[in-house]
């Protein structure tokens, strides 16, 4: 029985699909990672237009107050198991917009991320490396951070 479960974890981890949802500027480098030079499809990643088919939600940079409900709703629409990757400085602490009060400074306190990718914006290589870390997490059978806690469970959206 254990072996079969391992197989499913392996299969899940090798075809990660991203919900196609951009909240900020880092999506530009995400597009570059999809491009021919970096070509993330080599590793089994692919963007999908609907959250219903997605395994990974990327917080691409800043999260403004206005887009947060849409982000949470997108996350809620994704089927389990689902993982969150936070791109860039903004999704960690507001980054360059830390002084701006239209932007949420700690989106990952609301929606905890499994992997942080550093940079402003992160380079495509870093994005692919971050997704490899998600793969590793799935293979080790570690549950996603957002399923364990986070403010989003108490919020209405």
């Amino acid at each position: 029985m254990l072996k079969i479960l391992d197989f499913f974890d392996y299969a899940k981890s090798e075809s990660l699909w991203m919900a196609h949802f951009c909240t900020g500027c880092c999506s530009l480098e995400m597009a570059a990672a999809m491009g021919p030079r970096y070509d993330w499809e080599r590793y089994g990643y692919m963007p999908t237009p609907t959250p219903r088919q997605a395994d990974v939600l990327m917080i691409t940079g800043l999260v403004s107050k206005k887009i947060l409900p849409a982000l949470l709703r997108t996350y809620a629409q994704m089927p389990e198991p689902k993982y969150i990757v936070a791109l860039g400085a903004c999704s960690f602490d507001g980054g360059p917009y830390n002084d701006s009060l239209a932007v949420i400074k700690n989106p990952t306190e609301i929606l905890p991320a499994d992997v942080f990718i550093a940079g402003c914006p992160p380079k495509p290589e870093a994005i692919i490396e971050g997704l490899e870390a998600v793969k590793k997490k799935i293979k080790e059978g570690i549950p996603s951070a957002a399923s364990q806690g986070g403010l989003w469970k108490e919020m209405e959206f």
């Binding site: 949802f21 500027c25 530009l28 491009g35 021919p36 030079r37 800043l62 403004s64 206005k66 009060l101």
Partner: protein
């Protein structure tokens, strides 16, 4: 110009003076004259209102409104000021929207951020700012941001409640037995990016569109006032990452004007070179988005391939592919190692090798031609009326290009010509991007050659000439600067106080704001499937739409 000056002088003005080469700066004594002035200007031919920018002088109790009128044909521009009382109850002025359609959203923005009420505005609602700022005016100097921020979760709840209320009202407002519905296009639509269009449609046919923007609102114009003049670059370049160099050039020019600094020839040529590189990287994305929105992803991939080589050059120069922060007041941030031109040469070679194929397959593509040649058409008159700029304006045959009209950096030394298309359809705008891509590469080649020759002659020193010192504290003053951005005209209006370390007010007029305003106008009566196509052809970036 003299005629225009005389025309303004007929009204009661505090001053009327020449400003730069093609501007006249004037201040009205009374706000009651505004409508008459505006009518006279319109008859005179200044048909576009570029933007409306309030400056809040809290100490004097004055809200100063700046209007920027432009004539895209004869290149005469007017910067008109008028003072209002700052007190919220009486801070009001006649709206110019009935005369200048382009004022519509700009006045709404001034109302949302500063609480200036525009009388007889057809649709004075909040724009950009989120629901938690309702009846609060965040850009006023005395707005307490810290108190507002403490309630983040409650603020988000307010946004959610407002959205749900709107959705439930939609269902009540429309009759249950009709085929009308209100559809949300975005912000999770793959072609939309962070924008939501409220599409009121009857079956397939669109009745009206109300864009809901502000999903990436970062209050950049307020953010810069918390940073020093160098630190503000971080906010300015994030206007939109696709072409960040030219927005920094605009900001740097405004600071230099107040500081009274002239940059070196080397720095001005580097600004051309880097600016065109960023323009190319943006245009590649723009072309890709256009085809992506029609459901064809190949061109985006091809373009991304070539674009990477141009980003390599930016990376070798500044250390970053996109967030370069390479332009600073006083010149360009880094010296140039001539070996960096090898990277640029690689990019140019790659471009030359690919471009014919792109043209043959995509630009002359018969399917695209049939699909896009008749939709989203804009006439030259409409360009003037709605104050559109950049490739959208030139695709309709309007000869406007700030690199030629009001040359900055080293553009006056380049022999540039207007590139235009005739019919103003979605396809023309696509072809326009492509033609401009080719002209940008030609400019880069010239600039590169010029720098190489000047360095070889010893006229320029690439490691030392890049920077002129700009004082950290600036005198009291104000300046405007305009640059031709990848997407159109960016107008920066910078105000400083005496011995200031940071900007007092920076207004960034960005082209996507006007272009998004056009969606409702262009899409009425069209079908739902035209939305992505026309939206893509307008070359909108949400970064500079929301700021």
């Amino acid at each position: 110009m003299e005629h225009l000056k005389e025309l303004i002088s007929r009204f009661s003005c505090a001053y009327v003076e020449d400003y730069k080469k093609i501007w006249i700066k004037a201040k009205l004594n009374s706000k009651d004259d505004l409508l008459d002035v505006a009518k006279a200007l319109q008859t005179e031919g200044l048909r576009s209102l570029s933007t409306v920018s309030p400056t809040d002088f809290a100490e004097d109790g004055i809200m100063e409104i700046n209007y920027f009128f432009e004539d895209l044909d004869t290149k005469r521009n007017l910067w008109l000021k008028v003072d209002l009382p700052r007190d919220e109850a009486v801070c009001e002025i006649e709206s110019l929207t009935p005369l200048f359609a382009s004022a519509n959203w700009h006045e709404r923005e001034a109302y949302s951020m500063f609480g200036v009420r525009f009388l007889h505005h057809p649709d004075l609602r909040d724009i950009i700012k989120s629901e938690d700022f309702r009846d609060k005016y965040p850009f006023r100097v005395d707005f307490d941001w810290d108190a507002h921020e403490k309630e983040t979760v409650a603020n988000v709840q307010q946004i959610v409640d407002a959205f749900k209320k709107e959705q439930s009202e939609n269902e009540v407002d429309l009759e249950s037995d009709s085929s009308e519905t209100i559809l949300n296009w975005g912000p999770t639509h793959p072609a939309s990016g962070p924008i939501r269009l409220r599409v009121h449609c009857d079956g397939e046919e669109i009745i009206s569109i109300d864009p809901d923007i502000g999903y990436v609102w970062r209050a950049l114009e307020h953010l810069v006032t918390k940073k020093d003049f160098i630190g503000a670059i971080v906010a300015v370049e994030r206007l939109c990452f696709m072409d960040n160099i030219n927005s920094m050039v605009g900001y740097a020019m405004a600071v230099e004007e107040i500081a009274g600094v002239t940059i070196t020839p080397f720095a001005s040529w580097m600004r051309v070179l880097l600016g065109e590189t960023a323009r190319i990287s943006s245009h590649f994305m723009g072309m890709g988005v256009f085809f992506n929105n029609m459901g064809l992803h190949t061109l985006a991939m091809w373009n991304m391939d070539t674009r990477e080589f141009f980003l390599d050059f930016l990376e070798s120069y500044s250390g970053a592919r996109i967030a370069t922060a390479a332009i600073e007041p006083g010149g360009v941030r880094y010296g140039l190692d001539m070996r960096m031109f090898d990277e640029l040469q690689k990019a140019l070679d790659k471009f030359d090798a690919n471009i014919d194929e792109v043209e043959a397959i995509f630009v002359k593509n018969p399917t695209m031609r049939m699909r896009a040649a008749e939709v989203g058409r804009l006439s030259a008159d409409e360009i003037h009326m709605f104050g559109l700029s950049g490739i959208v304006a030139r695709a309709s045959g309007v000869k406007t290009d700030i690199r030629i009209d009001e040359p900055y950096a080293a553009y006056d030394k380049l022999d540039l010509e207007y590139i235009t298309q005739e019919r103003g359809s979605a396809r023309d705008r696509f072809v326009m991007i492509f033609e401009e891509l080719k002209s940008s590469v030609a400019i880069i080649k010239k600039a590169k050659q010029h720098i190489e020759e000047a360095v070889a002659n010893g006229e320029m020193n690439p490691t030392k000439d890049h920077m002129v010192k700009v004082p950290k504290k600036l005198p009291k003053g104000e300046a405007i600067s305009r640059v031709e951005w990848a997407r159109g005209e960016v107008l920066m209006h910078l105000v400083t106080q005496e011995k200031a370390k940071s900007p007092y007010r920076l207004k960034m007029r960005a082209p996507s704001f006007n272009h998004t305003m056009m969606l409702d106008y262009l899409l009425r009566g069209q079908t739902l499937s035209d939305i992505p196509l026309i939206f893509g052809s307008l070359y909108v970036c949400q970064g500079d739409l929301d700021r």
